[in-house]
């Protein structure tokens, strides 16, 4: 961690710039546009997520065949595979209620701040409160589980 390649953070920054510019250009950074999609008034929004997924999917499929490891980290090229459990459904449903109520998701909220939407700080504040609440709760229950296991 300490000896990162000097280009590591600059590259992350450039990737973030392109990512944020795309969220602005697509209008996904505007909650109204997301809400208009969710209420079927403008069905264009899936082109953003699936367009992006296709581009990343090509890279995820090709790179492991071309190179063994990423040049700046030495990390192997792997797909993003996470284990499935009940949390994916519960968390997905809670996220869905929040997204449907507010019209904003985390990446789009950061980009929204960039396009001038100061009002989105309400959503960002809420996201930190929510992330803290679940982290506090899960840290506690994790410690309790460890204590219970240790007592056996």
């Amino acid at each position: 961690m300490a000896d990162r390649h000097p280009l590591f953070k600059p590259l992350i920054f450039v990737g973030g710039l392109i990512f944020g510019f795309g969220l602005g250009f697509s209008h996904m950074a505007r909650p109204e546009v997301v809400l208009n999609f969710l209420t079927f008034e403008d069905l264009g929004l899936p082109f953003v997520m699936f367009g992006a997924a296709i581009v990343s999917g090509i890279a995820f499929a090709l790179l492991p065949r071309i190179r063994d490891a990423a040049p700046l980290t030495g990390a192997p090229y792997e797909r993003r595979l996470k284990p499935f459990d009940r949390n994916v459904l519960v968390g997905g449903a809670v996220f869905g209620v929040g997204w449907g109520l507010s019209g904003i998701c985390p990446g789009a909220a950061y980009a929204s701040l960039g396009v001038g939407n100061v009002t989105i700080l309400w959503a960002l504040g809420g996201m930190f409160v929510g992330a803290y609440a679940q982290g506090y709760w899960r840290s506690r229950s994790g410690a309790r589980d460890a204590a219970a296991a240790g007592a056996d």
Binding site: V14, F19, L38, V55, A59, E78, V97, G103, G107, Q134
Partner: protein
């Protein structure tokens, strides 16, 4: 091939803003993800930033696991914010135009130092309470629209496909109910 005018009109009604701004924006979001992945091997998602940044101020064990990645996640988010600003300074300000870009009509435009900025009309209580649920749900559900939706779907991950189907279906239901209750914007 003969274009059916009735069919064309039906399609136009489904996509009143066209599809090019969405598709081009999506390709750029994908490109940003790929730039990071090619250099680092990291399939980056946006919502982990919430917990990794909390590790600066909280000692909870749940956040400590992100201490190693919190610096670059801060850089990633700063890039996203400034990328949005770059869009505002160019296309949103009318400095650059393209037939692929269709400006939106919602919200409120205002100007600061020659840059056209935009603010939402969606009510703060919706943003705040929705934001709380987004913060809880994305972290418990192992990802958000970028982590599951872009990187996970791009990886053909079954977990992510189920995650996306879940939050998309619930979000559609929620937005329809909220709209039916007369809450606008």
């Amino acid at each position: 091939m003969v274009a059916d005018p009735v069919l064309l009109q039906a399609v136009a009604e489904l996509f009143p803003s066209g599809v090019s701004r969405y598709a081009v924006g999506g390709l750029l979001v994908g490109l940003g993800t790929v730039v990071i992945y090619v250099g680092t091997g990291i399939p980056a998602g946006a919502s982990t930033f919430l917990e990794s940044t909390l590790s600066y101020v909280s000692g909870q064990s749940r956040f400590r696991r992100y201490v190693g990645s919190r610096d670059w996640r801060l850089v990633f988010t700063a890039g996203i914010i400034l990328g949005g600003l770059a869009f505002a300074a160019t296309f949103q300000s009318g400095l650059v135009t393209s037939p692929l870009y269709e400006p939106g009509t919602t919200g409120t435009l205002y100007e600061v130092a020659g840059v056209t900025l935009w603010a939402t009309d969606v009510q703060p209580w919706r943003l705040f309470f929705g934001g709380i649920l987004v913060g809880i749900g994305t972290r418990i559900g192992k990802g958000c629209t970028s982590g599951h939706g872009v990187c996970g779907v791009g990886s053909a991950s079954k977990t992510s496909l189920v995650g996306v189907a879940t939050f998309l279906a619930v979000a559609i239901g929620t937005a329809q109910v909220v709209a039916a209750l007369g809450v606008s914007p």
